[in-house]
Subunit: 437 residues, 2 copies
């Protein structure tokens, strides 16, 4: 209730026979007594009362259910499994899609619905990433990281025990029926019918990018996931091949999932692996250059025209080949942006890593960049930026720039490179090219 | 001046013949006219005036110099190199140690000296990590990350062109003569005399942990670093072996440098690689378990006593072997802490990964943990924690807990595991054991 009230603009009908009001709204004694149309029912009654409540949902013509209640097949007691079989049958009877049971629910930022027990998810910036997760904990981890790192999301959903609404149904919805979703991020532990997910992804291939964190890579993680949602995780090598075949990009950590989804949401895919590194300071440019190989990328060679622009704007004391040390242009953010646009125009460059650490001499950089953005078109190539500054100095400008015009801001130079590498991996994956890793 | 005024408690003497006041303090017309004793001179005059200024420093009996001015051997014009030779001779004449030229300076949080052009470094939390960097840009990157991630630092120093104060001198100072420094972090690009650094580190081996980010791992990064400070980077494989031999732990990214230094500052080293994962939610525990192998660690097996404590506190619906899903103990942070202490007492466990994502049901966890801390001893084993929450919810308690009693808070489960792996790598390195990686 706390999550819905104040966020959701439609009608909310609390149902509780033992209470007059909930969060300032009059309660109804039963679902069937509600006079209006009910689109979604969020159920938090004890497990034993769930079958009866689902019957009421069916009779009322509810279009979908979020079943937060736990105590089904995930518990050791076999009665849990039997109860889950029962609700499956009821759901089938009324053709009622159920998210859960044993889920924290879902949040749709675009529609303004927070059908979860975590009201703070409404702090997530609105954007194009939808996360479908087998674990509520990972939704919370990624949701809070999203708030902190400015990831724009459309939806977060935890599937829980996946009664009749599983990865394939969720993927189909977000890819074919939800315009607000531009990128789908998955967290998968293990599935009873992995083939169903892979086939669905294959049939949707190329429509929207899908990036996945698959648990159970190590033997230990694998065996833990067998327990968690009562499903088989299976050999990770088989999973890896299957995900690739379905055009799903696999990543290794929660951080990488967030960074990659953010880049996919806001940037075009690079046409090739040739990357320019432009940095306000030599050192960060160097550590970015150092991770280029590992990310499957290469440093681009500038055309004569680009090199001439750079040479004109930077004195010979700076490193002017790739990576470019723009330090001497600190006093003129305009020059730094000029170098950026020359590099983006360069036919030999497929993407740009743009780095700047705050220093008193470049104080106005972020603001000036934002001002330029107001007049500029969207970049035709991806730009991964890292602007690091003390709290309060560049915050506002960075938040505004982040995710706009094909530029994404990430926390470190190495993470910017890794995200760029993943854009390129996605490009080759969707084109079905052979690529290692 | 802006960096010093208001932070430094000793006397500040601005010297400027053309100005009466600087930041509200009366200026002196020359260094030699100052009546008091001058410990440190921060020089920002144009390059051509530096020799003369250094002579004055020598005559005045100044104990050390920070030479921020650029325009020496790092520029293409050979006059820069000649000028640097000249200042080297002057420094030798007066036995005057010079940090720089071409540096942003240094910050000593313990002594309250910010001798840099970046006043915001004074926002860094005081702690035991000292960073010696060949690049000012990396000092800024790491310094701002330190503010954001609560890394406690004692000093940050950029060596610049390393006139006569280089890595060996800095290492000797921070390890043998600075009690506030507990851990030394290095950022190395390339050196004229790498052997000198390695020999110094070897002679100091075991006194304080040293962790290093070495640029130039890829061929491209290597050739870029040759230009930056006019020095040779050299083959990375040779460097890798040499660092290991000297007992220096090499890491791969700026993020890893920060995380590892933070863990080394606050935690004991683990006696072995056997790790327990305790998580408030199953999913995050699973992704942590998944990265255990890669970090060179293994999941510990609990003794019967530990398992009994866990079984008593958690119902059978939770995963109770390692990783432990403490979800059902949400309503009782005390039970979670009880499980933590039982695991720390377990002879078969060398360190603990402790994870919890905020949820309305565990709202009080961070505060309760903090309260327990007030009465508890320092943990005998390292604990890497990840507490993720929306802004403002757990912030205060997490900041207080972080770095106390042998528990460090890191941003994601995977980074917690990686830092733990690096503590174990450090342990084996210092014991001279053979370990891969």
């Amino acid at each position: 209730m706390k999550s819905l009230v104040g966020n959701y603009r439609g009608a909310i009908y609390p149902v509780n026979p033992n209470s007059k009001q909930a969060w300032g709204i009059d309660c109804w004694s039963s679902l069937t007594s509600i006079t209006g149309v009910v689109d979604l029912a969020v159920i938090v009654v004890p497990a034993s009362l769930v079958p009866e409540t689902l019957h009421e949902c069916g009779k009322k013509g509810v279009k979908g259910v979020v079943l937060i209640t736990a105590g089904f097949r995930e518990i050791e007691d076999e009665l849990g499994g039997l109860l889950e079989d029962e609700i499956k049958k009821i759901a089938q009877l009324y053709d009622l899609p159920i998210i859960g049971p044993n889920t924290f629910g879902f949040v749709n930022r675009t529609a303004g619905v927070n059908a979860s027990f975590t009201s703070e998810f409404s702090l997530i910036r609105k954007g194009g990433v939808s996360l479908i997760s087998q674990s509520g904990g990972i939704c919370h981890l990624c949701g809070f990281l999203a708030i902190e790192q400015g990831l724009g999301m459309s939806a977060l959903m935890s599937l829980g025990n996946r009664c009749n609404f599983d990865f394939p149904e969720a993927l189909t919805y977000f890819i074919d029926h939800d315009d607000a979703t531009k990128v789908v991020a998955l967290y998968i532990e293990g599935l009873d019918m992995p083939r169903h997910l892979i086939e669905t992804a294959q049939s949707l291939r190329g429509k929207k990018p899908i990036v996945a964190l698959k648990a159970g890579r190590s033997e230990k993680g694998d065996s833990a996931s067998r327990f968690h949602t009562g499903s088989m995780a299976g050999n990770h090598q088989i999973w890896k091949g299957a995900l690739k075949q379905a055009g799903i990009l696999a990543v290794d950590t929660a951080e990488e999932l967030i960074d990659t989804a953010k880049a996919l949401d806001s940037c075009p895919l690079p046409a090739g692996p040739r990357i320019a590194i432009l940095s306000g300071q030599a050192g960060p440019g160097m550590i970015a250059a150092d991770t280029i190989d590992r990310a499957g990328l290469q440093l681009s060679n500038f055309t004569t025209e680009t090199q001439e622009v750079i040479n004109r704007l930077l004195p010979p004391i700076a490193i002017r080949t790739n990576p470019v040390d723009m330090g001497p242009a600190w006093y003129s953010p305009k020059d730094m942006l000029h170098i950026l646009s020359a590099t983006l125009d360069d036919d030999g460059t497929d993407g740009v890593i743009f780095l700047a650490m705050y220093a008193s001499a470049n104080l106005k950089l972020a603001e000036e960049l934002l001002r330029e953005f107001e007049e500029s078109d969207t970049f035709p190539k991806p730009v991964m930026a890292c602007f690091t500054a003390p709290p309060g100095v560049w915050d506002h400008a960075i938040q505004e720039i982040d995710g706009q015009k094909g530029m994404v801001v990430l926390p470190t130079p190495e993470r910017a490179v890794k995200a760029m590498g993943n854009l390129w991996r996605m490009k080759t994956l969707l084109e079905g090219r052979v690529q290692s890793g």
